[in-house]
Symmetry: C2
Subunit: 448 residues, 2 copies
């Protein structure tokens, strides 16, 4: 659930596709406290309904400070994430820093969260966002190892999709000089997930073989790059055919189009003895397939249940089916197979500060050495968050989808509130400017 990309399910509710969040104008402001949204009234279902400013406990001298923030206003489709203004400069605790955000990462956890399927995200209204990059603008009294102007990447459980965030300094990491803000926002969740799974849990070694599902997604690309640190690792990667050239260049030895072939059969043809490691972000019946693909002494790591997600809104049938097919194993079977089954969820590891810090430090070293480099699929402004989510949901991305707090340029903005259909066309054209377009045709996965 942490950092994986959306599954390539056919949209179950095609009608929903048309109800995109229309473009919005700057909304009235809402009070903010310490970088986390205050538990404001549930915004109305109209886009960017205003909270009443007079309810907010903001000191008069701070009224001038306002910033853009995305809010999840309720569970459902793309239109549930709305852009709002927060007012009032957040106060800093002694160990915290205030960061002006330049770029944010979009993760599959946020797609789940929007559907009400991510239990670590507090109830709406809430600002999502687990990773971002930016520049430090203010320091708490006790912070000595950061300074104003430092370019940092930031990790948090949620709350980072806003122009200004206040976080403990320990959750920030100094960016290498050569790193762009987009790369910095793309790195933390995907690479921490991939690195800890590969080298802490699975202990992948030279000469081994691995299956990486959704190999064109953020975690998939991170894991593929990290496998290149070892000699002679054979990487099987599932992705739709249009992405095979790109992931092949990135290090996938055997790209497999799971839409037209049974990936398990394909793998057995090439590696009849099975695989050393399978990373499984899918859940459901794919986990069973993964287990059976392991050779003795092999390791399966389940780190998601992407099969739960089909349409734009929560699909109870898909959830139930994934749950019903959920892999359950007893220890006798594990013994007879000499296999390991692990679960990984970065969200539940947030207390393990030492592990996170160590791993982030290692990842930034690897970046500086040129051994890893996040691949940016596309960038979207905050007001385009619905399009960004749809791109990931429909699995059209190759690499990371990035959100930018800065407003779209005025000339790009519709001056009035146009027809929704027209807006969509307009937005899609705009999006062409900064994303790699791939086929949006989706074929339902063949698993039962």
């Amino acid at each position: 659930m942490s950092g994986e990309e959306a599954p390539a399910r056919q949209q179950q509710e095609p009608a929903e596709e048309k109800t995109e969040n229309p473009p919005t104008e700057e909304p009235p402001s809402e009070a903010a406290q310490e970088g986390e949204p205050s538990p404001a009234e549930e915004p109305a279902d109209e886009p960017l309904a205003a909270a009443t400013p007079d309810k907010a406990p903001v000191a008069p001298e701070e009224e001038v400070f306002s910033y853009r923030a995305l809010f999840l206003t309720g569970y459902g489709g793309y239109d549930k994430v709305k852009l709002q203004m927060k007012k009032g400069k957040p106060s800093l605790k002694s160990a915290e820093v205030l960061v002006r955000v330049k770029a944010c990462g979009l993760n599959f956890a946020e797609l789940l969260g929007r559907q009400g399927l991510y239990e670590l995200l507090p109830s709406p209204p809430v600002t999502p966002g687990m990773e971002c990059s930016g520049v430090i603008e203010a320091l708490g009294e006790e912070v000595t190892d950061r300074k104003v102007g430092d370019r940092v990447l930031v990790l948090s459980r949620h709350g980072l999709w806003q122009e200004v965030v206040v976080v403990p300094a320990s959750q920030t990491f100094i960016m290498p000089e050569s790193m762009s803000f987009e790369e910095a926002a793309a790195l933390p969740i995907n690479y921490l997930t991939a690195y800890i799974m590969l080298f802490e849990m699975a202990n992948v070694r030279a000469g081994q073989s691995i299956l990486i599902h959704m190999a064109a997604g953020g975690v998939g690309i991170a894991a593929t790059q990290l496998c290149q640190l070892l000699e002679d690792v054979t990487v099987f990667g599932t992705a739709s055919a249009s992405k095979h050239e790109t992931i092949g260049q990135g290090g996938v030895t055997h790209p497999i189009d799971y839409r037209t072939r049974d990936y398990a059969e394909e793998i057995r043809k090439i590696s009849p003895k099975g695989l050393d490691v399978v990373l499984d972000p899918l859940g459901g019946s794919d986990t069973q397939k993964a287990f059976s693909l392991l050779k003795p002494m092999g390791t399966l790591i389940v780190f998601g249940a992407a099969n739960c997600v089909t349409g734009q809104k929560k699909n109870l049938l898909a959830v139930a089916k994934t749950w019903y097919n959920q892999f359950t194993i007893n220890t006798l079977r594990l013994m007879h197979a000499n296999k390991a089954v692990c679960g990984f969820h970065l969200g539940y590891l947030s207390d393990e500060e030492e592990l996170i810090t160590q791993t982030m430090t290692r990842l930034l070293e690897l970046y500086t050495q040129g051994k890893i480099k996040p691949r940016i699929d596309s960038t979207y402004h905050f007001e385009q968050v619905g399009d960004a989510m749809r791109r990931m949901h429909e699995r059209n991305n190759i690499g990371k989808v990035i959100l930018l707090p800065e407003p779209k340029k005025e000339e790009e903005k519709p001056e009035s509130n146009p027809e929704p259909a027209e807006t969509e066309d307009k937005e899609e054209e705009e999006n062409e400017e900064n994303k790699t377009e791939t086929s949006t045709e989706e074929v339902k996965r063949e698993e039962n």
Copy 2:
């Protein structure tokens, strides 16, 4: 099931204790083929019932060659393992060697096998025995990397409890010069099990913490020694109080008397955050305890179901209870916990020749460097196999129980067939000579 020691259950059928296998005289011979017993008639329940020699296809010139072999004649108590004579020199295939056996290891798998609970042992009549040491007496035509007179240790699925064995040369390993035959017979199963679990599956690292159940057993002592290869590993070891001094000297940081205390509570007092690794040879409800003792990113390895075994004979209730309490986990729970659950069973790894050979080579290096040294608990002659099994079953051993093919000296042997009770006393006295006696009082484990 591979290499672990018996649990300290109270005997459920104390009456059975009295029906020991009385000492025996050399029995009439039985034909043997290629080091494996031929599927002879089921021996009668009298000790050492003779197979009819005239049925055996033995060439006349080989009639003079005879050797002692232990047979499991049926499922049940200690008396089901009987000493018999085999006649006829086994023929050698081109890649095989003939080894004169000097010492054999007793493993928990053989206790399970005698009860009909070890599925890898063929049906009786069959010669058990998965490890031994000895001297090469003959070579197949193709064997070039061994020579007559080589001292070797031998691994096999079964069939090694006899004076002479014929095995593929690839299943033999040259003994270091300083290694005794007893040590060589004690090393393979226990140290392979411990090494592969610790360093291939769990990837134990410096500074970590580990729980080793049955820390005074063969695998327990091996695992404790292997943990000393790393800096600053905290070893929790369960054993009865009388063994604490010994296992403490061997490297157990915190010995815990599981008979008088709840080991999970004791561990939580010392390590409130939990453990990095638990090795679980017990199964049943102890596996659940083990899982809950892990810290995030921790690894549980289940490698036995010793809780299945209570009395001398198969206890259906214990089997059912262990089965009922068997740990079953779904992937969602694993994800939320960030934990790994592995199964290990050396018997099912026997096709992984490369892993086995690599690991054995490493273990023999470590022995030569003085970093590991098998601890011999006691030695028993073949005719005392029932006593040897009882010692392990009642968990009175600290380290390895060894079987010696050579006959007991004549003066130790009763001349006639004495009363069973008298024999038992005699045997117990004899056993005092070569074993470390510890309290035989058994307290039922408190788990439900």
